[in-house]
């Protein structure tokens, strides 16, 4: 009799751990052909709150690391993703991608991490300024991370879309709570295993799988979330998210992946994606003997 394989349980990724949802709920993730792939965790409002709490705790440490250090950790994610490419490709194929599509998507995932790793110690050079004010003052403006960023990942590409939105947030010193693709959550959870082995500190990236219509309103309303990326929010719900975000003046960011696409690196990666999650601070200091 052939050996029986051991199946993986797909759980959430919160604070560097893989807990089941506190709600105990799950939902069936199906293949293109209608077969059951796995029972993914159906994350709850409480899971989101736990994730935001973990993220907030991690922010000062992550934002306080040197840019060089953050860049090396992002580069390490690229190294680990490349080494585990076969596994990620396999996840995408089971989720419905062709072999060629899956391979291309994973290669782009790796390259996107390398691209943003390279920005870690450069975006401040591009976006800061020394301001020649009319007086005896030294005056400069520098970017700082906004804090906790909520990301709603697009349904597809489930892996590249997620990576393309969280990489620019975290390279800038922010921490992320992301809601994964609802229909294809499994590749994202496997990706979390790459984070976990790349020296990413606990709480810097948190992933919640589940039903978006259930989760997004709570993420948008959370008073300790500083910005929300609506890229993966269905079109007719975006206005509602924007309204809710006003409660604590969240920065609302959106990338129109559906029209722009994800495959052209020139269009789908940019330092302005980092800038979207930055605050600007201006400092005045007198000059004189």
């Amino acid at each position: 009799m052939p050996r029986l394989n051991v199946r993986k349980t797909y759980k959430l990724y919160i604070n560097g751990e893989f807990p089941r949802t506190e709600s105990g709920r799950s939902y069936a993730v199906m293949s293109k052909g209608g077969e059951l792939l796995a029972n993914a965790s159906r994350g709850s409002r409480k899971d989101l709150r736990n994730a935001v709490q973990a993220a907030r705790k991690a922010q000062s440490g992550w934002g306080g690391k040197t840019a060089y250090n953050r860049g090396q950790i992002l580069y390490r994610i690229a190294e680990v993703c490349e080494a585990r490419a076969a596994e990620l490709i396999d996840e995408l194929r089971r989720a419905g991608s062709s072999a060629a599509e899956a391979k291309r998507e994973v290669e782009q995932v790796v390259d996107r991490w390398v691209y943003y790793a390279g920005w870690s110690d450069k975006y401040p050079q591009v976006f800061s300024s020394v301001n020649p004010v009319a007086g005896p003052y030294y005056n400069f403006t520098i970017p700082e991370p906004t804090g906790v960023v909520g990301v709603v990942a697009p349904e597809t590409p489930s892996l590249l879309g997620l990576v393309s939105r969280i990489a620019p947030a975290i390279v800038g010193g922010n921490v992320v709570v992301a809601i994964t693709s609802e229909s294809k959550p499994l590749p994202a959870i496997t990706l979390a295993e790459c984070f976990e082995t790349s020296d990413v500190p606990p709480g810097v990236i948190n992933l919640i799988s589940g039903i978006k219509s259930e989760l997004v309103p709570w993420l948008a309303a959370h008073m300790d979330v500083n910005a929300i990326d609506t890229t993966g929010v269905v079109a007719d719900a975006i206005a509602k998210v924007q309204q809710t975000a006003a409660e604590n003046v969240k920065r609302v960011v959106h990338f129109d992946g559906a029209s722009i696409g994800w495959n052209d690196a020139r269009l789908s990666q940019s330092p302005y994606a980092i800038f979207d999650f930055q605050e600007l601070k201006t400092v005045w200091h007198p000059m004189g003997m």
């Binding site: 860049g71 390259d111 007198p286 004189g288």
Partner: protein
């Protein structure tokens, strides 16, 4: 024209604090802790902590690195490279001549036209990231070789030179596919073949400063390491092979001044980057005049280190010590002219005298060593000659009483007081562990004296008053100003001089400019 190796240079790093490196915890205890009869069971003698050298092997002979392969020199001549702390031969090094330079430039041109300029920038980046990672992986061997070949303390090569070299490649790797953000609204293209000549004071680090931005911008390189310190450049060549860098993208031609001169005058070279003495830099500027070659020069310095009366004096003294005795004073940005506000001259001199006695001078492979060997006999003679002139011109000399080994090249940490502004030790770059102490009364006087030199590489300012730091910084004509710190380097931070300290910047966004055409 003779391009002998330069005296000046530089370095960078990131998160290293040099005052930590020159730690007071290494205070000499021999005199105070002589064992008495009662404690005869315990030896209080100093116990060296030697870095291991058994984890790597040097070849007995190194050839030129041209077109991705190690090839014999046209001259069929090799010269010995030594350990300046022992005078023992470490390996034989190929003596490249004009014929070899021509071969290297031809290979660099071929690699530029056929491969490197055509590779997607994001792929170029990945090669450079690989180089950074390989330097990190081999960091200890590189540090030990750097120390053995150059004489610098292992704690400096281990904690500063090598990590910074890796960091430099890491930083510029990221720029390769982002050049449009460094030069907005313009077409950015590489220049072509870059000829790069580096000095002996920070051998691998200088190679990284030169090669990393050149490759990131899409150029190919012919590098000429310093005659006395070629080994880590050749180990870097092995790393280039291991990284599968396309053959010819980086070529390394070893030799002396004549080899450098051949590189400068080669018609196939589009850009020259030189770090070294102002004297040689001027000759290179003349030699490239009218040739259309782009040029950057990182030359000498005679940096003022200015201490105001409100400065935290103990912190300032550590900064002064680090500023002048780091790397035996073989640093182009060394704080070699100390300007002390008159009211605090007495305590500063007293603290300096005490502090230089505690610097541990000796075997560079000892992890406790603060000041290692002078890089070469020629440099030692130059230092001695200038120090003699200081004594002759009437300055008062203080020297550490430390003992130094019998073999090798050594110079005790030294400073002069009562130095006349016009004296040679106040005007000329000594490039050794020798400090000239001068005084001032007002900030205006400090500015005037600080700027009273042909150089303009760097300066230090010590005061608790922020507004004064910024005002002083705006008035001092120098490319790098350190306030309440000294000798800090980082790949993201541009470095380079005003006036006769050269032109062009290395490091940071601005360090890309010398390697691109913007149209």
């Amino acid at each position: 024209m003779k391009a002998e190796e330069g005296s000046f240079f530089i370095l960078h790093p990131s998160s290293f604090i040099l005052s930590d490196i020159m730690s007071t915890t290494t205070i000499e205890t021999r005199e105070r802790l002589t064992p008495g009869a009662a404690s005869s069971a315990i030896s209080w003698d100093y116990a060296p902590s030697l870095e291991a050298t058994d984890h790597f092997r040097l070849a007995s002979r190194y050839n030129l690195f041209i077109g991705g392969k190690f090839v014999e020199p046209h001259s069929k001549k090799w010269f010995a490279t030594i350990n300046p702390a022992t005078e023992a031969t470490l390996a034989e090094i190929a003596e490249g001549d004009a014929h070899d330079v021509d071969r290297a430039v031809t290979e660099a041109r071929r690699a530029y036209d056929k491969v490197w300029r055509k590779i997607a920038p994001s792929e170029r980046a990945k090669y450079i990231f690989r180089i950074a990672r390989l330097i990190q992986e081999k960091s200890r061997a590189l540090a030990v070789v750097e120390t053995m070949n150059g004489g610098k303390p292992i704690k400096e090569s281990r904690d500063i030179d090598i990590p910074l070299a890796a960091a430099h490649f890491f930083y510029y790797a990221g720029w390769a596919d982002k050049l449009e953000y460094a030069f907005p609204n313009r077409n950015v293209s590489p220049i072509g073949v870059a000829g790069q000549i580096i000095p002996w004071n920070f051998p691998l680090l200088m190679a990284a400063w030169k090669i990393a931005p050149a490759l990131a911008a899409g150029n190919t390189v012919v590098l000429k390491p310093a005659e006395t310190t070629p080994l880590t450049s050749l180990l870097l060549a092995e790393i280039m092979q291991e990284a599968d860098l396309p053959p010819g993208v980086v070529n390394i031609v070893t030799g002396a001044g004549g080899t450098g001169a051949a590189l400068v005058s080669h018609e196939g070279v589009d850009k020259i980057a030189f770090t070294g003495s102002t004297d040689v830099g001027k000759r290179i500027q003349r030699a490239t005049a009218g040739t259309g070659k782009k040029l950057t020069l990182e030359l000498g310095g005679k940096a003022p280190n200015i201490v105001f009366e409100d400065a935290p004096l103990d912190q300032a003294v550590e900064g002064i010590i680090n500023g002048i005795y780091f790397n035996q004073g073989h640093v182009c940005c060394a704080g070699s002219r100390l300007y002390v506000q008159e009211s605090v001259l007495e305590p500063i001199i007293r603290k300096l005298r005490d502090r230089i006695m505690t610097l541990r001078v000796g075997n560079p492979l000892d992890k406790n060593t603060d000041v290692g060997a002078i890089n070469s006999r020629a440099q030692l003679e130059k230092i001695q000659e200038l120090v003699d002139s200081g004594v002759e011109e009437g300055a008062e000399m203080f020297q550490s009483a430390c003992s130094v080994p019998d073999k090798g090249f050594w110079f005790r940490p030294t400073f002069f007081t009562g130095v006349a502004a016009s004296s040679r030790i106040a005007q000329e770059e000594i490039f050794g562990p020798v400090l000239s102490v001068l005084t001032f009364r007002t900030p205006e006087e400090a500015i005037e004296k600080a700027n009273n030199t042909a150089y303009g590489l760097s300066a230090g300012i010590w005061t608790e008053k922020g507004s004064r730091i910024l005002k002083m910084a705006s008035k001092i004509r120098a490319g790098v100003i350190w306030a309440n710190t000294y000798n800090k380097f980082d790949p993201t931070s541009p470095f380079g001089g005003f006036k006769e300290s050269g032109f062009g910047r290395e490091g940071g966004l601005h360090g890309l400019a010398p390697y691109v055409k913007v149209s």
